[in-house]
Each structure stands twice: as C-alpha cells, then as structure tokens.
C-alpha cells in the first residue's frame, strides 16, 4: 500500500527533527587517559566486547575482520587472537588499523593513545613490548573497587617488571595451577580475569606480592612518566629526530665534545653514538631509557631533544673517566674458547663472544675450527634436550590419555590438554602428533575405538 504521506512533504514537516548518526558500538570511555596508568588497547577491546555481551573472538570474527585486512595480517604471522599478541598495543599497522576501526565505530577519540602509536615517529619497534602478560594485583584490586577494572599499557612494555605506584613486582602467573576450569567451562576474557581459572587477578596470595628491586621501580617510573607525558596527549612537540638533538646538546657540557667519552658513559660503541647523532635510525625504547637514566632526565626529553634538564650523575662521571679496556689478544681469545669448549656445560657462540667481549663474526673468522666445535657441541646438547623434553611430554600425554580412557571417556587432544593444566598441545606439530597417537593407543587399549 502506498504511503499517505509524500516524502517531500514529510521532510518539511515542522515537527521532524534530524537525529545525527549514532555510534555503531557503545561509546565506552577508556580508563586512565592522561595518566601514566592509561588503559591498554587490548584491555579496551576486551571491555568493549564484554559491554556488547559477545566473546572477543565473535566480536573480532564478525565485526572487525570484515573491515580490516585480516588475510594480510595472518600472512604476516599474527594469530587470529590479535589482541593477545604483543604487537597489538605497539605502534605498527595492527594497532593503527584497530584504533581507526574502533574510533569510527565507537565515536571515541584518542584511542591511539591506548597503544604506543603516538611514539610511532620517534621510537623503533625493536624491544618495545613484552611477550609476557604482567599485572599489578593491587592496581587491579583498586580498579575493581571503582567497578571498572582494566589492564594498563605500562604493564605491556618491555623492561617493566614493577609497579612503581605500589613498589611491588608485577605478577605474570595467577597461581591457579591446580584450579583450572574443565573443558566445558570457559573463563570470561576480561583484562582483570585469569583466562585459565576465571578468578580475579586482583586477588593474589600475600606471598606472591614481593617488593620490587629499586632498579626496576626507577625504570618503570621512567616509562610511566613517558606514558603520562604530553607526547600522548597530542600536545607535545612534533620533533622527529629528538635523540640526535639531545646528544648534540649534551656532548659538549658532559663529554667535552668527545664522542668516545660519551660512548663510554653510555656503555655503547662509538659507531652507535655516531649513528644516533646522524639520525640514521629511530632509538629503541631500552636505549632511550638508558640515555634518560644516564642524564637523569625523562625519556620524553630524550625523544624531543630537550637537554635542559640533563644532569651529571656520579656514576656517569666515573664511567666516562674509566679508560677503555684494551681488546683481548688472539692468544687470550683462543685460551678462553678452549676453556669454554672443555667446560662442563656447552656454550653457544653468541654467549662465548659476549663473555670474551668481542664480536661474534670476528670470532668465527679468527678461530673457525674451535668455533665449529663449540657450535656443534652446543647444537648436540640442545638437540638432546629437545628430545628429552619431547619424550617427557609424550609420556605425560600417554598417561593422561590412559587415565581418561580408563574412566570410559574417549580421550581427545583438548581433554588431555585440559587435564595437563591447559598446556596447549595444539601449537607444536610434534606435540600434536604425539598427543593424537597417545589418544589412539589409549582408545585401542580400552576398547573405545568402536
């Protein structure tokens, strides 16, 4: 049936108000913005999925992946659970695509500051994020009291092992070894919940809370101040080659214009300092921390090239005045290598070069025979270790599969994995094969194969 109201007349209807476009997703406010304890992008994503009462996997599969070029990401080696990868909160293409998508869908501005994207032009991607998931139980407990628990970006950074607010070591294990969920249950994926047992990460045993090392606290504080700085609010200076300016500014007052002296102070090779000064590369985060600690200033100052706050520390003076140790002689290197070769535990070539204090490639050229022996001994040892480990795992799979089959249940890879405290047998093809074989054997043995 045709409408009684003409479209043209409807638009001019005096009571018709135009409602601006609404956000497709809930407009969830990120936590801790403008502070060193800002929320991480992965935490925000998990909370957003929870706000829509869908699992992060479903959210990703049906909402995100059609929009982002997932095939390209998968080809680049990212897992389907992108939010669990260390690069998710980093400064590459993945967080760039995700923040753009989430900003468009939620109409929330500034999501790029939930990862390290504001440092994209200033910091190298090397040694940026930690592969280990860490958290401060007290911070989580506090945010739970405020009823919006979240995970901090600071905990995701490489080299952060302490919570400087509470002076404790960050935890990386929930301690739920014996209390994992069965295969039919699944812990809610939230930033403050252990994905293995479903318990709050804010309820750690008092024994697990250990005071942090002062060194770790200083490092965490430096990195925390960077996250709370104006570089993340968008108000900071847009300076691309800050480190070059910083080093140029400090080399005269602190090293008398002498690059080798500055290199000694920082514990780096002269060529590295030359490299930094000539703007050849972006600084890695650990190096930025090193420079900031050496000159008692903030990482932000190093990155924007502001040396006005740089100070001489006693340690720095001592280091700069220390004469450079002469390189070891050919004979000394040979003697060291031979002693390592005869030593009780095999040593890798990289480790040998580090212990002697020379370059690895130089070592291979000067003593090829000993290096070859050293390497083959090391490889043999590693191979043996790997075989032992594999044998141990296969035994564990066999025992577990038999245990399951004995109770009348068909053993499967998932059931075996669950009983083995969630060890992901699916990730290693050899483990997978061994587990499948153990399951088949157990089924044959207990007559469950029919």
């Amino acid at each position: 049936m045709q409408s009684l109201i003409h479209e043209s007349e409807l638009s001019s209807w005096e009571h018709t108000k135009v409602i601006p476009k609404r956000s497709h997703l809930i407009r969830l406010e990120p936590r801790g913005l403008g502070t060193p304890f800002r929320e991480s992008l992965s935490s925000y994503f998990l909370r957003l999925a929870d706000a829509h009462s869908v699992s992060p996997n479903t959210f990703y599969r049906y909402l995100v992946s059609p929009e982002l070029n997932v095939n390209r990401m998968l080809a680049a080696g990212y897992s389907t659970n992108a939010w669990e990868s260390s690069g998710f909160n980093s400064l590459g293409q993945i967080p760039l695509g995700w923040t753009k998508f989430l900003q468009e869908q939620t109409c929330v501005e500034g999501l790029s500051t939930l990862c390290l994207l504001p440092l994209r032009e200033k910091i190298s991607r090397r040694m940026l994020m930690s592969d280990v998931n860490r958290w401060c139980p007290i911070c989580i407990e506090e945010s739970e009291k405020e009823r919006i628990p979240f995970g901090q970006l600071l905990w995701k950074l490489h080299g952060v092992y302490a919570c400087y607010r509470h002076g404790i070591r960050l935890l990386s294990q929930c301690g739920c070894g014996q209390g994992r969920l069965s295969s039919v249950q699944q812990a809610k994926l939230l930033p403050h919940i252990c994905k293995h047992c479903g318990r709050s990460l804010g309820k750690a045993d008092s024994g697990a809370i250990i005071p942090a090392q002062p060194e770790d606290i200083v490092q965490a504080k430096l990195l925390g101040e960077l996250l709370g700085s104006d570089l993340f609010s968008g108000a900071g200076p847009k300076y691309k080659h800050g480190v070059s300016h910083f080093l140029k500014a400090v080399i005269w007052p602190f090293a008398d214009g002498n690059i080798p002296k500055l290199a000694r102070t920082l514990g780096k090779a002269d060529s590295v300092i030359h490299y930094w000064i000539q703007n050849h590369c972006k600084l890695s985060l650990p190096n930025a921390v090193l420079i900031a600690r050496t000159f008692s200033c903030s990482i932000r100052d190093v990155l924007i090239g502001d040396a006005s706050m740089a100070q001489v520390s006693k340690e720095m003076v001592e280091r700069s005045e220390m004469p450079k140790a002469p390189p070891p002689s050919h004979e000394e290197i040979r003697a060291s290598l031979e002693s390592m070769l005869r030593g009780p535990s095999p040593v890798s070539l990289a480790e040998a070069a580090r212990r002697i204090g020379v370059d690895r490639s130089g070592l291979t050229h000067s003593h090829p025979e000993i290096c070859k022996e050293l390497t083959s001994r090391w490889r043999e040892e590693r191979h043996q270790e790997s075989l032992d480990l594999h044998r141990e795992k296969a035994e564990a799979y066999r025992d577990t599969a038999r245990k399951i089959a004995k109770s009348g249940i068909r053993p499967t890879r998932r059931r075996v994995s669950d009983l083995l405290n969630g060890q992901h047998v699916a990730f290693d093809p050899r483990d997978r094969e061994a587990c499948d074989r153990a399951c088949q054997d157990a089924m044959l043995e207990f007559g469950l194969d029919r």
């Binding site: 009684l4 407009r27 829509h52 869908v54 699992s55 047992c197 479903g198």
Partner: protein, 279 residues
C-alpha cells in the same frame, strides 16, 4: 526531543528513547526472545544472535563456550547492559496487546515482573501503548498500580463541539496527503465519517488509505463510491464500538482525575470496617 537535542548532538552514543512494537510471534505464549531482539534492533546493537551469558561460580567469572543460539537470559543481560550504556530513559512498547493476550494469572505477573526488572536495572520509564485491554495490567497488583500512570487518549465524541472540530481538522490534514487531483473537500462529509469511524483517527486514516488504494486501482480518480467501499463493515464497526465503550467504562475509574474526596471517605469507612472485623 528538544530537551535531549543538545545531549544527542554532544554524545553520538546517546539514545534517549527506544520505540518498538510488541511482537506477536504466532506462538501461544509471548516471545521474550523476539521482544529483546526488537529492542536490540532498535538500538542497532550488533551480533544480537550471538550474545553470551556470564556466570559467577564462586569467585570465578565463567562464560558459555558457544556463542551460537544465545539464551533469553543472555539476551536480557545484553539488552540491559546496552540500554544502560546508551543511557536510554524511555522505552515505548507500541501495540502492546500481545504482552497481555493469552497471559493468565501468574504468567501475566511474570511478564510484568520481567518488564519491572528491566525498568529497575536500566532506570527506564516504560510507556506501554495499546487498546483498552491493557487495563488488565493495572488491576494486576497494588505495586503495579502505585507505579503506573494511565494516559487516556479518548476517541473524538459526537455531539461535543470541540471534538467534532478536532476530528474535522484531522480529516483536513490527512486529505492533504492524498496524492490525487480533484479530491473533493472531505471535511464536508466530516459528520458522516465521524460516525463511520466512531471518532477514531486511526480508523479514519486506514479508511482513507483503503479508498486511495481502490482509486489508484481503478484508474487514479477519487470518487465517493470508492470512499464508501473503503468504509468498515457494520458488524466490524459494532464490534469495535462495543469494545471501546466497555474500555471507556473501565478507564473512567482508573484514570487520574476520576477520584473524588468522597471516594477517600469511602476508603476510610472500608478500612474501619475491616479493623472491626479483625477484632
């Protein structure tokens, strides 16, 4: 709308009001799944069929493994969360009759409890729109009566000058939207149409729409004969009138403004008698 316009402009996530019509699924019982799905659709909530329930088992936060075929409880939790997050303050349930139809005794109370729970959790005002059958809801319990307000939109009465004028004005407005040439001035037939539609603008609108459809079907010329053919049959009209009169009688004692101070005196007497009986 004007009250909320500024907030709407400032916050793109804000949805102050949601309007749905209660679903009549064809099943014997009211479909809450369809009801929540409709609210979700109105809120443009994504993945409505893939909502997951969350349980608290001891100190563990557990969720269902599969997200396919979500439960009504999961849907309710999801919609409550969504209404809260969108800061919705008004939920209009239009054509709400399926909510009360086929519901007897306990099941009707259960329906109202579910709505009350949704309203309490999300801080919502519920506007339940429908015919006089909805009056059953108010008589259900004192709790509900205390929280409810009835707004009666009566039909236009014949013999009341103001009502007749208003009906005529509505007729004139509707006529402006008839996309045909040479439509005579229908307001001249206002009295006849008033009777033929028992003063209900909804019936009038449907009648004019039917007349238009017939006219378009017969070459696009409006005629009185087409209008006559579009009128409701006498039996249907009588049935509607009977229900309307019954509803009007019921609402007389339920709407605000119907009470007098004498009524309260009667209530005092009733309480007095009850106390005497108890002794």
């Amino acid at each position: 709308m004007e009250k909320y316009q500024q907030k709407i402009n400032e916050d793109p996530g804000y949805i102050p009001a949601v309007i749905i019509s209660a679903p009549a699924s064809g099943e014997a019982v009211f479909s809450w799944r369809m009801f929540y799905t409709r609210i979700g659709d109105a809120l443009a909530e994504p993945l409505i069929d893939r909502k997951q329930s969350t349980f608290l088992v001891g100190d563990r936060v557990i969720t269902s493994r599969s997200s396919r075929g979500c439960t009504v409880a999961a849907l309710q939790t999801a919609i409550s969360g969504c209404l809260l997050a969108r800061r919705t303050s008004l939920l209009v349930i239009d054509e709400a009759i399926p909510l009360v139809r086929n519901a007897r005794g306990d099941s009707l109370e259960t329906h109202m409890d579910a709505l009350r729970s949704l309203s309490n959790i999300c801080g919502l005002t519920l506007a339940i729109v429908g015919s006089y059958d909805l009056l059953r809801l108010v008589e259900l319990s004192g709790q509900l009566a205390r929280r409810s307000t009835i707004l009666h939109f009566p039909r236009y009465q014949t013999g009341v000058k103001a009502d007749e004028n208003a009906f005529q004005s509505a007729l004139a407005s509707l006529q402006r939207y008839i996309p045909l040439k040479n439509v005579p001035d229908l307001t001249l037939r206002s009295d006849q149409l008033h009777n033929a539609c028992i003063g209900c603008v909804g019936i009038l609108k449907d009648t004019l729409a039917r007349a238009l459809e017939i006219s378009l079907h017969l070459g696009g010329r409006w005629s009185d004969e087409n209008l006559r053919k579009a009128l409701l049959p006498k039996k249907s009209l009588l049935s509607i009138l009977r229900e309307t009169l019954e509803g009007e009688k019921q609402i007389k004692d339920l709407a605000f403004g119907s009470a007098t101070f004498n009524d309260y005196a009667d209530i005092q007497n009733f309480l007095q008698e009850e106390r005497t009986c108890n002794r």
